[in-house]
């Protein structure tokens, strides 16, 4: 498990002293008490067990990274847990699926509504979107990377 996390970019979790600074910085823990970055890391380091907590609850505020006295980067561990869950075939949040589908389709994360299109014209803003060649390059990269 340790190697699997490391290969997916997890920070130096073996240096964790379970001080709880990350959890006291964590804004999601304030609104959703069962989400607890200290316990996530504890589960890995102390019990050699993938944590049960949902890594997608993290809001990516990165305050745990700033405040950890040991330079552990708890957020990077949460991200590698997301990756591993995805590789194991766990369901993704809808927002993530939408984002990825949109980028595959257009190379950008959002599409233009009729209303905004009109407004862009009115303001003299340039056209929106990639060229055919650009888009096929982006699609090839995504395919090769296995997205």
């Amino acid at each position: 498990m340790i190697n699997r996390l490391r290969e997916r970019g997890a920070g130096n979790f073996l240096k964790c002293i379970q001080c709880g600074s990350c959890t006291s910085a964590c804004i999601v823990n304030v609104v959703e008490e069962e989400f607890n970055p200290r316990k996530i890391i504890g589960s890995i380091v102390r019990f050699n067990k993938f944590p049960d907590q949902d890594p997608w609850l993290c809001s990516a505020c990165l305050l745990c990274v700033e405040r950890c006295p040991q330079g552990v980067n708890p957020f990077s561990i949460i991200v590698s847990l997301r990756t591993i869950r995805y590789e194991n075939g766990n369901a993704l949040p809808n927002k993530v699926i939408e984002l990825i589908e949109q980028v595959k389709k257009t190379g950008l994360a959002f599409s233009l509504s009729k209303e905004v299109e009109e407004k862009r014209k009115l303001l003299g803003l340039p056209g929106f979107g990639l060229s055919e060649e650009g888009l096929s390059e982006v699609r090839r990269i995504l395919l090769e990377a296995g997205v």
Partner: protein, 248 residues
């Protein structure tokens, strides 16, 4: 000065008034800018949470389309491009462009431009972007951020501090429940500050807060462009704010 302007998907698709404002600012400051049509999404969180390789390769492609300096309109794009470019540059020995978030770019370039500011005195709270401040990259004080406030001061506006200033608004949370709770919490903190409006440099914060806040949520570029004499209607500054400002 010549730069690449990277607006990001959200601003391009949802906030044409912000795009207009940024372009007005750059033109009035005499900055030549170019927007590579073929640049893709910077593939932030949703992507690199799942597939680091895709994130790095999309941004290696972006990197090759950019000039030596890139100014980003959204701090989340800044973080994604900046961090990916560093890794690609180390791995492949290619020189990475310098990525400047809009706030920092303004702070460094606003002075000595001989600009006459046409509006003053608005009370502004700042919604600080998590991904500009953290991980700390030496661009601002991560625990007591000053960059956006300093730009506002230089423009003649009045930044207002408040409790919960560093709190995340949940704009990059993927679970609806968390998104809603964090947005509501943040909107309350901003309203309690007693300011006339909220100023942001992140398109995700803007989107998140515009959905719940009673205060107008503006991009720093909108207030910058207003100061420099742009047409308030084109850059999306509401009348109610104009009435609260003084013409010096």
């Amino acid at each position: 000065m010549s730069i690449t302007l990277y607006l990001g998907c959200v601003i391009k698709a949802l906030y044409p008034e912000v795009e207009k404002a940024i372009k007005e600012v750059l033109e009035r400051m005499g900055v030549n800018f170019e927007e590579p049509k073929d640049a893709s999404c910077c593939a932030p969180l949703g992507f690199f949470s799942l597939n680091r390789d895709a994130w790095l390769r999309l941004n290696e492609r972006n990197m090759r389309l950019f000039q030596d300096t890139v100014v980003t309109a959204c701090d989340d794009c800044f973080a994604s491009l900046n961090d990916a470019f560093k890794i690609v540059s180390e791995n492949k020995g290619i020189k990475a462009p310098e990525v400047k978030p809009f706030g920092k770019f303004m702070l460094e370039n606003l002075e000595n431009r001989g600009l006459r500011f046409s509006f003053k005195g608005l009370r502004c709270t700042v919604q600080h972007s998590c991904h500009f401040l953290r991980p700390a990259r030496g661009m601002d004080d991560a625990e007591n951020p000053r960059v956006v406030k300093s730009v506002l001061e230089k423009l003649g506006y009045l930044p207002v501090s408040y409790d919960g200033e560093l709190d995340c608004c949940g704009g990059l949370a993927f679970e609806e429940r968390v998104r809603e709770m964090l947005a509501r919490r943040k909107a309350e903190a901003l309203e309690k500050s007693g300011a006339d409006c909220v100023v942001s440099t992140c398109s995700h914060c803007m989107r998140q807060l515009r959905a719940v806040s009673r205060l107008p949520i503006l991009h720093l570029a909108q207030l910058s462009a207003l100061s420099m004499g742009a047409n308030p209607e084109e850059i999306g500054v509401p009348d109610m704010l104009l009435r609260r400002m003084v013409k010096p």
